[in-house]
C-alpha cells in the first residue's frame, strides 16, 4: 500500500473493514441465539407488549438470553427503561 493509497482509502473508505465489522456483530448475535429455545422470541415479544402497557419503550428495550452453567440454565431478562419518567401509554 502506498502513500497515495492512504489518501485514497480515507476518501473511499475500506469496504473490507466494513465487511469485517458487520460480520463480527451479526455472527456474535447469531451465535448467542443459536442455542436458544424456540419460545424465546415469542416470549420476548409478549414481555415487551406487557411492559409497553405501562412504559413507552423501544423495540430494543427487552433483551433475553439463555446461559448455561453446568446443569443449570439461566434465563436472563434485561429491560432498559427510558431515562426520565417518560409517560407511557398508561394515560390511555
Amino acid at each position: 500500500m502506498g502513500i497515495l493509497d492512504a489518501f485514497r482509502r480515507k476518501k473511499k473508505g475500506n469496504s473490507a473493514a466494513l465487511a469485517k465489522d458487520r460480520l463480527q456483530v451479526i455472527i456474535a448475535h447469531e451465535r448467542s441465539g443459536a442455542n436458544a429455545p424456540d419460545y424465546l422470541i415469542p416470549l420476548r415479544e409478549e414481555v415487551l407488549a406487557v411492559i409497553r402497557k405501562y412504559v413507552a419503550v423501544d423495540d430494543e428495550a427487552v433483551r433475553m438470553q439463555i446461559e448455561r452453567e453446568g446443569d443449570y440454565e439461566i434465563l436472563e431478562l434485561n429491560v432498559t427503561l427510558p431515562e426520565s419518567g417518560s409517560h407511557a401509554a398508561s394515560d390511555r
Binding site: 497515495l4 473490507a16 463480527q24 451465535r31
Partner: protein
Amino acid sequence: MARVIVVTSGKGGVGKTTTATAFAAGLAQAGNKVVVVDFDIGLRNVDLVMGCERRVVFDFVNVIQGDANLNQALIRDKRVDNLCILSASQTRDKDALTEEGVERVIGELTERFDYVICDSPAGIERGAQLAMYHADDALVVVNPEVSSVRDSDRVLGLLASRTRRAEQGDEPVTEHLVLTRYSPSRVDKGEMLTVDDVCEILSVRLLGVIPESEAVLTASNAGIPVTLEAATDAGQAYLDAVARYLGEEREHRLPTQRKGLFGRLFGS
C-alpha cells in the same frame, strides 16, 4: 483407521465440489485409497468435474435401496490409482437417502478406503446434515465475502451439534478452513476480507488459501481435478492443503502482489 471428511459450506457456489475433487485426487496422489461420495441428490456434479459422467451406471441411491452393490456403483478414476467415485442419483429426490442407508454405505466404504470424502449439497437441510453426520473432519469452504462467511458460521454450529461425534460425546469433528476465490490484489486495495479477517471471525484453523484462478474453470471444463494440474496456482494451493492435512508443515504462500518501491509508493 479410515477418516470420513465432509466438504461443506452452507452457501452454494463457493467451491465445494472443486475442493472435494481436488482434495480427493491429492490424497490419492499421495498414495492413499480415496473415495468421493456425492451427496447432492438430484444435482450431482462430482461425476462431471471428475470427467466420468458417461460412466455412471449405478449410484448412491441404488446402493442404499439395494438395487446395486458397491462394486457395481464405484467408478474408478482412470488417471489416479486408488481414487473412486460414488455418484449421486440424478433423478430422485433428496428423501431417497435414509439415515440407516447412509450409515451402512459409509461403514462399508470405511472398510475399503483410507479416506471417504463426502461432498455436501448446499444449504443446511437434511441432505447437508446427512453428509456431515459421520464426519471425522470437515473442510469448511469459504469465500472472502460476507454471505459466505456468515453461512459458514452456521455450518460450524451444526458440525458442533448435529454430527455423530457431537451426539455421542466423542472428540468433536476437526474443522479446517479452506478459503477459496481469494484475490490478493483486491485484498491489497482493501476491497476484500483478508485471510486473517476470515480466520478471526470464524475462529477455525486455516488449511489452505486457494487463489481466484483461471485454472479452476479450465480444469472443470475438461473434467480434471485441479490437483492434477500441479503447475497451476490453484492446483499447487490444493496440493499444499492436502500436505498440511496429512501433517506436513507448509508455509501459506499467499500470492501477494509483488511491488517495487515505486509500486509501493504510487501503486494502485
